[in-house]
């Protein structure tokens, strides 16, 4: 109980710094969820493309091989780029957390010294400081999750357009416009479908039950962002506390 009392007292005392961390966590969680939603939409579109492609005969598919290969490469590249970008975001989160904690450590130097002088272990002090940050990061995530509940459907619609645009850019980087039109015309002439040519390449979401949350990746965002904050800050605090402990022990008789 005293540990929790110290934690919440510290949160109140350093509220300005933690408010900044809350806002940063909120933004990072939001960007993460947006990225993962675009990725999930891309994967959905790729799956639906595969399902619609199955309606065509093998010979028609073979004739449009260049187009189909290009589409699959475009989806693959889009997915890969999003994963890399998301990975960079998580890495940046850990780095920003590390730097934030280093700066914060200077402000909390006297406090850390006081804890060490009354005999608190490095582990106990670190646990308190990390718990403070994790509470704030968790609160940032919760705020984003609530926003997703309220505005997720609208955001998902806007993101869907973004995903389509991203895919189109990838495809046009892979294939010439002429090739796309030619192969698409060949395919659409070989079979009667309920969808148009563009509807094959960038299909809408398949009918069926929609999830309660229109956005994706909340679970991965929570794990990754909170994990990055914890690791980033743990490194900085260990450095700071280790230096203080060495400073306290430095004077030899």
């Amino acid at each position: 109980m005293r540990f929790l009392e110290r934690t919440f007292s510290a949160l109140r005392y350093h509220r300005a710094a933690y408010l900044a961390e809350f806002v940063a966590s909120l933004l990072l969680c939001a960007v993460s969820i947006l990225m993962l939603t675009v990725r999930a939409q891309g994967l959905d579109m790729r799956q639906n493309f595969g399902d619609r492609l199955a309606q065509f005969t093998p010979s028609a598919v073979t004739k449009a091989g260049q187009l189909i290969g290009g589409v699959q490469r475009a989806y693959s590249q889009l997915d890969s780029q999003l994963l890399w970008a998301w990975g960079l975001l998580i890495g940046a989160t850990a780095l920003v957390s590390f730097l934030f904690a280093l700066l914060f450590a200077r402000r909390r130097r006297q406090e850390s010294l006081a804890y060490l002088m009354v005999g608190k272990s490095t582990g106990a002090i670190l646990a308190q400081y990390l718990l403070e940050s994790l509470i704030v990061a968790g609160a940032g995530f919760l705020a984003v999750w609530l926003l997703c509940l309220l505005f997720g459907a609208n955001a998902a619609g806007w993101l869907s357009q973004l995903t389509r645009a991203g895919f189109s850019d990838q495809l046009q980087g892979t294939l010439a416009t002429g090739t796309i039109s030619r192969d698409l015309t060949t395919l659409m002439h070989s079979h009667v479908t309920t969808f148009s040519g563009p509807g094959l390449l960038v299909p809408n979401q398949a009918p069926g039950a929609r999830p309660a949350l229109a956005l994706s990746g909340e679970g991965w965002t929570l794990i990754a962002i909170v994990g990055a904050v914890a690791f980033g800050q743990a490194g900085a605090w260990l450095l700071h506390l280790g230096r203080l402990r060495w400073h306290l022990r430095r004077s030899q008789p």
Binding site: E111, A114, G119, Q252
Partner: protein, 190 residues
């Protein structure tokens, strides 16, 4: 090695009890502040080196170890509570406003009391105090010493006061040293 450490630690504790028994206030004269700081560091290091870290509590005006955002009461109990809260004088114990306030604005004298009782509640056997704050009047020092004497005798703790004040040392000849005793036991004693 563990056997050697254990024997050394026991010899060290025996030396301490020989020097500072029964539980009381003990005054150790220091000629100047620099020597006082050196002796404080030396004694602290000897406690650490002999595995007696948990037996020692520090009382220092400059490095008080007080957490500013915790209440006075939380600071008192930060290392646990091995004694009844009745150990604190009634006037202080009943001042709930003072106990509940954040500890960031304590006066040097108030800080001294908090550090004293923090060490006693934590069950420290020895408290090492690096002199009285300059701002404390003679009356305040006397009040602190009376309070501390009562409390340490109750808890079987010895309070070692390093001081540059010759009057304090002269006024307590039975529990004073003009030269700082060596805490390290001799090789024969080990």
């Amino acid at each position: 090695m563990p056997l050697f450490h254990n024997r050394a630690a026991k010899a060290f504790q025996a030396q301490l009890h020989q020097l500072f028994s029964p539980a009381d206030l003990y005054f150790i004269y220091q000629p100047d502040q620099a020597t006082l700081q050196t002796t404080t560091r030396t004694y602290s290091q000897q406690f650490l080196a002999n595995g007696a870290r948990k037996a020692l509590g520090l009382i220092d005006e400059t490095d008080a170890g007080i957490i500013p955002y915790l209440s006075v009461q939380a600071n008192l109990l930060i290392n646990g509570q091995t004694q009844s809260f009745a150990l604190i004088p009634a006037a202080l114990r009943r001042d709930l406003v003072f106990l509940d306030q954040p500890a960031r604005d304590l006066t040097p004298a108030q800080s001294l009391y908090v550090q004293l009782f923090r060490g006693l509640f934590a069950g420290r056997q020895f408290l090492l105090m690096a002199d009285f704050p300059q701002s404390m009047t003679l009356q305040e020092k006397r009040l602190f010493m009376d309070t501390a004497t009562t409390a340490v005798r109750q808890t079987n703790t010895s309070l070692l006061v390093l001081t540059t004040d010759t009057n304090l040392v002269a006024a307590h000849p039975a529990t004073s040293w003009w030269a700082a005793p060596d805490l390290q036991p001799t090789a024969a004693a080990q």
